[in-house]
């Protein structure tokens, strides 16, 4: 257990099919994935809505049985030792599931009771966690009075009440304003510094770049890429991206003219993305072709481009 590179989560051929057992018409949400998460890592699962992220998380949280394959957490099998594993996990679900009938502090106390912790321990821990979540002044308030960011911080504080070794976060910052997101990232980074293993799903690429040491990209229930954010960007995109916007009327004509000017062209509803090693050169080439975009922007490739390349409609030239 003291081995820093110890594998805490290991999935092999992991599959989730919803529907009755044996029923062939079931919906396959996760289609045979393999991955490992090591102690102290921040591991990200990226994917569009419906890619299978949440189903994967629910199986790891031992709240949804594995249909096929194996999933071992902290050395235990999720099917046999679910309760034992859950005792060492912290779970931040996608929807806020704060107990609306209790106050902020009571939420922490009673949640700790579900883990079998004593009231004495919980009084001390809840005070510390309220401080961590910056909710000390709100301790006695009804949860209905909290803002979205506060609710999410309370959910995270609640997930820490059992001092978990692994914290699962399902789209932790979805629906939050930028300030709330940055505060949350800062708190998650703090957790990581404290040695807690983080496993998070997101569809925000900046979030993945900020927080994750390593990540997988999921699409239609399968893992389509795996690596560090920098590796994925290097492997699946070119150095720079040229973003062009056109007037609606001439859009199609302009797009046709741009073909062949970059190694990869991504057509989005509102703009055209040209992957290239040198954005300025490509922009000059675009102008030479007589293309007149409304706006043109050269930027560094990001994880979002990886994501679009791997999961979106991609026009490979």
């Amino acid at each position: 257990m003291s081995d820093v590179s110890a594998v805490l989560i290991e999935a092999r051929g992991l599959k989730k099919v919803y529907g009755r057992p044996g029923d062939k018409t079931g919906f396959t949400a996760v289609d045979g994935i393999d991955f490992q998460v090591r102690r102290g890592e921040a591991f990200g699962v990226l994917g569009a809505n419906g890619a299978g992220k949440s189903s994967t998380m629910r199986m790891i949280a031992c709240v949804s049985p594995v249909t096929e394959g194996s999933l071992r957490i902290l050395g235990w099998d999720t099917g046999r030792d679910g309760a034992r594993i859950r005792a060492r996990l912290g779970v931040v679900p996608q929807d806020d599931t704060i107990d609306s009938e209790l106050t902020v502090r009571e939420n922490l106390l009673i949640y700790g009771r579900y883990f079998g912790l004593s009231w004495k321990v919980l009084r001390e821990r809840s005070a510390r966690l309220l401080e961590f979540a910056r909710l000390t002044e709100k301790a006695g308030d009804a949860v209905a009075t909290l803002s979205g960011g506060m609710r999410r911080r309370l959910t995270i504080a609640r997930a820490l009440i059992n001092e978990p070794e692994i914290v699962l976060l399902d789209e932790p910052t979805t629906g939050l304003d930028p300030q709330a997101r940055h505060l949350l990232w800062e708190r998650l980074f703090q957790l990581k510094q404290d040695g807690v293993t983080l496993l998070l799903t997101t569809h925000y690429m900046d979030e993945a770049e900020q927080l994750c040491d390593r990540l997988v990209v999921m699409d239609a229930g399968k893992i389509v890429a795996e690596g560090t954010p920098a590796e994925l960007i290097a492997r699946h995109t070119l150095r720079e991206v040229l973003e062009l916007r056109f007037a609606p009327g001439e859009r199609q004509v302009m797009i046709e003219k741009c073909r062949g000017l970059a190694e990869r062209i991504e057509e989005l509803p509102d703009r055209l993305l040209l992957s290239t090693d040198n954005g300025e050169e490509t922009l000059s080439a675009v102008h030479r072709q007589g293309v007149q975009p409304l706006t043109a922007l050269v930027r560094r490739s990001s994880l979002e481009d990886v994501f679009l390349t791997l999961t979106g409609r991609s026009l490979l030239d």
């Binding site: 034992r84 859950r86 609306s100 209790l102 009771r113 883990f115 059992n162």
Partner: protein, 261 residues
């Protein structure tokens, strides 16, 4: 490895009661309403109608109408309190509030959650039954100390209906379905010998009434209240115990499928 108390899933059921106690610290007047309801019925029907009908025909002449109605109202209160807890309150927690979803990410099992909610229904039920009993005893409608048997009786009724409610809630599709529950509960309340004895019905109707769980609940409480013994309470205890146990077992299995898809 540290020894985690995970081997005793039912031991954790009590934490569901603790959760409810925390909530009721803020909302305890709700419980008062539950105690007052059977009292109001007792005044309206027991005393009001009682003045018109005098003693109940077919029963021992010494039994006044209020004494006939009071135990039935207590049985009904025990039934309603338990059913409301595991149908109405639980449906909200299952659907809109998603309370159980977060509870089940802890070592708590579906079984301990279900048992815990039933346990809480019993705790509430025993408070309501005890207060009601004290009040009617003050008015001389029940004979202590024999009538103290009413409290375990009310607990058994609470268990049977809490379990039945738990089973019912697994079949509900929307809030509209509560109308269907009312469609069963209200006639049962009116016909299960609450306001008039069984022998006013023709025999075929008697058989129908005798099948109702509330009928057996009323029999049980009435026997304790009036200090009459006989075979009926024994049948009632067996009926309610079996009903509760079977409903609970099936409900837990169905909840497992709903809550851990």
């Amino acid at each position: 490895m540290t020894a985690m108390p995970v081997g005793a899933p039912t031991g954790r059921a009590w934490t569901m009661v603790e959760r409810n106690l925390l909530i009721y610290r803020h909302t305890w007047p709700v419980l008062l309403a539950e105690i007052f309801e059977p009292m109001l019925y007792l005044v309206a029907f027991g005393v009001g109608v009682g003045l018109l009908v005098g003693d109940v025909p077919g029963l021992d002449a010494s039994i006044s109408y209020p004494r006939f109605v009071a135990p039935a109202l207590l049985a009904t209160a025990a039934m309603n309190g338990a059913m409301n807890e595991t149908t109405f309150n639980m449906y909200g927690k299952l659907t809109t509030d998603k309370t159980y979803e977060s509870i089940l990410t802890t070592p708590m099992s579906v079984r301990s959650v279900a048992l815990g909610e039933v346990l809480w229904a019993l705790v509430r039920g025993s408070v309501v039954a005890t207060v009601f009993l004290v009040v009617v005893s003050v008015f001389g409608l029940a004979e202590l100390p024999g009538a103290l048997l009413v409290v375990p009786g009310a607990l058994l009724i609470g268990f049977a209906f809490a379990a039945l409610g738990l089973l019912t809630v697994t079949f509900l599709r929307s809030w509209q379905d509560f109308q269907l529950i009312q469609l069963v509960m209200l006639p049962m309340f009116l016909f299960a010998t609450t306001f008039f004895p069984l022998d006013v019905y023709p025999r075929p109707v008697q058989v129908l009434v005798e099948v109702l769980p509330l009928y057996h609940s009323v029999e049980l409480i009435r026997a304790a209240f009036l200090g009459t013994g006989g075979a009926n309470p024994v049948v009632a205890v067996a009926y309610l115990a079996v009903l509760g146990t079977v409903a609970l077992a099936v409900a837990v299995r169905r909840l497992e499928n709903t809550l851990r898809p």
